[in-house]
């Protein structure tokens, strides 16, 4: 069997099947071997398309290999290896199976050569990742997982509708750069943007990831949003709307991260901020911008996983994740603190760490195009990253006020995973050439000029100064911040209450009229049908003629006659006459 005939995702699906049956040691080996083997296969894959199959009369293929899909394939498998090393302690088969299928599906989406194969893997990702949230088994996790999967089903439906319309309009299932702007491509774009956590479809990320399990959270950070980044690069490079979307996300993530108290939610918001940089690069669309977006996705996956691992270790050892309950952990978790700080420096694009060799490419691409606002917003966002992820996360978790927690270091395999990723962060920061070599376009970018490095140091150091000077304003509070999901979380309840009021109101009124009042009326009438009829007839006559001198006596006479049953005609006959009259009026006269 040559490498060309093996699909990297297949290994993950086989791994998932093995995890179902193997004993613990076998499971531990499987989850490490699957990503390692997949990585080796990807290095050997020749450029081109294979794994052709036919469906609905379309010629489809599941394995499209070029520099772009390979770059994402590399980082997805490297990250999978590190995450599973971090998750070695986990005995839960089902969580491993969900994780393996989720990663396999995201590799499938990256290598999918057409829209239908892409959609197939897209949906598997949505479903399997939900189980990583559910596996936490708390009420908050169940609620978050429900909202998570609903959002992704909505996104999947947008994508499906877009794909069907696109196939209808163009007659092709090809997944390449879309040139036509119209309903089909907009729907596909919305589908992709939902997975990229673009505003206003962003809440699922900061909602669900912090509720996931310790290891599930680490795994989820990489795949859903970065698969979306990949598909956006493939389909929508150079669409200028993405510049605005990306800039907004970059700022949005910072502001919410600053307000946030939960450490993993701070990191979740900073994913949006970082993906904002990438989407902005995709919108700029030049070869430098695209290469920058890919490089940034690569570095981001590694340092974000590292940050989530250090936060995950803290959660694993203390059971707490709120900044107000943490603090002072450097005393007993110094290694976790060091690795977390490496991740924090990398995300802040501190010189000598990996963010510094990737993110400035995107900003420089914007400058080349003369986009002043893009430069301004991304520089502000760069300062803000250092503020919320670079300093705030390590400061409030490992330093700040000592809350008396004395956990030890996490298990050795967790430290090993963090050490591996910390090494990659520093390696790519010092020597980025291997990364630049796998980018889709050749790059001529030099991060380490004296001027650029000095500027970056100034920017970061004075951001730190601002942080410590305004520390009283940044005091953590036991609060959450409302987001756009307020519309459907509170709005949903309001809608429910409105429906309750409206439909219960109608129901109750109908009940009163038709079940109580109307039968009562009928019952009273038929108690004395003859007398009542006569009385109403007489009253009507009195009102029309205006003669009312004897009304009282007449009514009394009718009553007494009716009660003593002293009518010349029987009640039955009277009713028969009335019905006959009514029937003849209905049938003939009308």
């Amino acid at each position: 069997m040559t490498a060309a005939s093996l699909h990297p995702s297949v290994l993950f699906f086989i791994g998932a099947a093995l995890v179902l049956v193997l004993p613990l040691w076998g499971r531990r080996a499987t989850i490490l071997l699957a990503p390692a083997a997949a990585f080796l296969i990807i290095t050997q894959l020749p450029t081109g398309e294979s794994w052709h199959y036919s469906m609905l009369g379309f010629d489809l293929n599941m394995l499209r290999v070029d520099k772009l899909s390979k770059a994402f394939g590399y980082v997805f498998t490297i990250n999978a290896f590190g995450c599973f090393l971090f998750a070695q302690h986990l005995k839960d088969r089902y969580e491993h199976i969900a994780a393996l299928c989720y990663i396999g599906a995201s590799l499938g989406a990256v290598f999918a050569g057409d829209l239908i194969s892409l959609y197939f893997f897209w949906e598997i990702m949505a479903i399997t990742s939900t189980f990583l949230v559910l596996a936490r088994r708390t009420a908050a996790a169940y609620g978050a997982a429900y909202r998570y999967v609903m959002m992704h089903i909505f996104g999947g439906l947008c994508l499906l509708a877009g794909i069907l319309l696109q196939v209808e309009a163009s007659g092709s299932v090809a997944f390449d750069g879309f040139s036509l702007q119209g309903l089909p491509t907009y729907l596909i774009l919305i589908g992709f943007l939902i997975n990229a956590a673009a505003y206003p479809f962003s809440t699922w990320l900061s909602d669900a990831y912090p509720e996931a399990t310790v290891t599930g959270g680490v795994i989820m950070t990489a795949y859903t949003t970065k698969t979306a980044v990949y598909t956006l690069i493939r389909g929508f490079a150079g669409w200028e709307i993405l510049i605005a979307v990306g800039c907004f996300m970059a700022i949005y993530g910072i502001i919410y991260a600053i307000l946030e108290n939960d450490m993993r939610r701070i990191l979740a918001f900073s994913i949006m901020n970082q993906v904002g940089f990438m989407i902005c690069g995709i919108g700029i669309g030049t070869s430098l911008a695209i290469s920058g977006a890919v490089a940034h996705a690569f570095c981001h996956i590694i340092y974000k996983a590292l940050l989530w691992m250090s936060a995950g270790s803290v959660l694993y050892m203390t059971g707490k994740s709120k900044c107000t309950e943490l603090g002072g952990l450097y005393k007993t978790m110094p290694w976790t603190m060091i690795f977390g700080t490496v991740g924090a420096l990398a995300i802040s694009s501190f010189p000598l760490f990996s963010g510094y060799t990737s993110k400035p490419m995107i900003i420089e691409a914007g400058v080349h195009e003369g986009f002043f606002w893009v430069w301004l917003i991304l520089e502000i966002a760069s300062a803000g990253v250092f503020l919320h992820a670079g300093i705030k996360f390590p400061y409030f978790v490992f330093f700040a006020k000592d809350n008396g927690l004395r956990p030890g270091e996490p298990p050795k395999h967790m430290l090993a995973a963090m050490a591996l990723f910390a090494f990659i962060c520093i390696f790519l920061g010092v020597y980025p050439q291997p990364l630049y070599d796998i980018l889709p376009y050749p790059v001529d970018f030099h991060a380490y000029t004296l001027e650029h490095t000095l500027n970056q140091f100034q920017l970061l150091a004075f951001s730190a100064l601002a942080f410590f000077m305004l520390l009283p304003l940044l005091k953590r509070t036991n609060t959450i911040s409302i987001r756009i999901d307020w519309v459907f979380r509170k709005g949903g309840k309001l809608f429910y209450r409105f429906c309750q009021w409206a439909f219960d109101g109608i129901n109750e009124r109908a009940n009163r009229i038709f079940a109580q009042e109307f039968p009562g009326l009928l019952a009273r009438f038929f108690e004395e049908p003859g007398g009542n009829l006569q009385k109403y007839g007489y009253r009507l006559w009195v009102e029309t003629s205006g003669i009312d001198d004897q009304q009282e006596q007449v009514a009394g006479r009718i009553d007494s006659r009716s009660r003593s049953a002293a009518y010349p005609v029987g009640v039955g006959v009277l009713l028969a006459v009335v019905i006959l009259a009514l029937a003849s009026w209905l049938l003939y006269l009308r």
Binding site: K331, L387, A461, F462, A466, L473, I482
Partner: protein, 88 residues
């Protein structure tokens, strides 16, 4: 190291004189970072303001103060008690 940990845990940041040293060191670094700007000829991308000495230092500081203040103001609007969504 392992033996030391049991006897005495790390508490370097608990001592005020260490914090003071750290702070003074930080101030020195800040000054050292801005000093070279007075001797370098810096390029500018959009406006000559960028080539002023210490532009990026000022930019970073002002940007962060703005972000914190804006977040704080928005926080007044957006922050809720933790059980906000659980209440009826």
């Amino acid at each position: 190291m392992a033996k030391n940990k049991k006897k005495k845990e790390l508490d370097w940041f608990d001592h005020p004189q260490n914090i003071r040293r750290l702070r003074n060191g930080f101030y020195i670094v800040l000054v050292l970072l801005v000093l070279p700007d007075f001797f370098l000829h810096k390029h500018h991308l959009f406006s000559t303001v960028e080539s002023w000495p210490g532009f990026y230092a000022l930019f970073g500081f002002v940007a962060c103060v703005a972000i914190i203040v804006v977040s704080k103001l928005l926080g007044n609007l957006l922050k809720r008690e933790e059980d906000y969504y659980d209440r009826r």
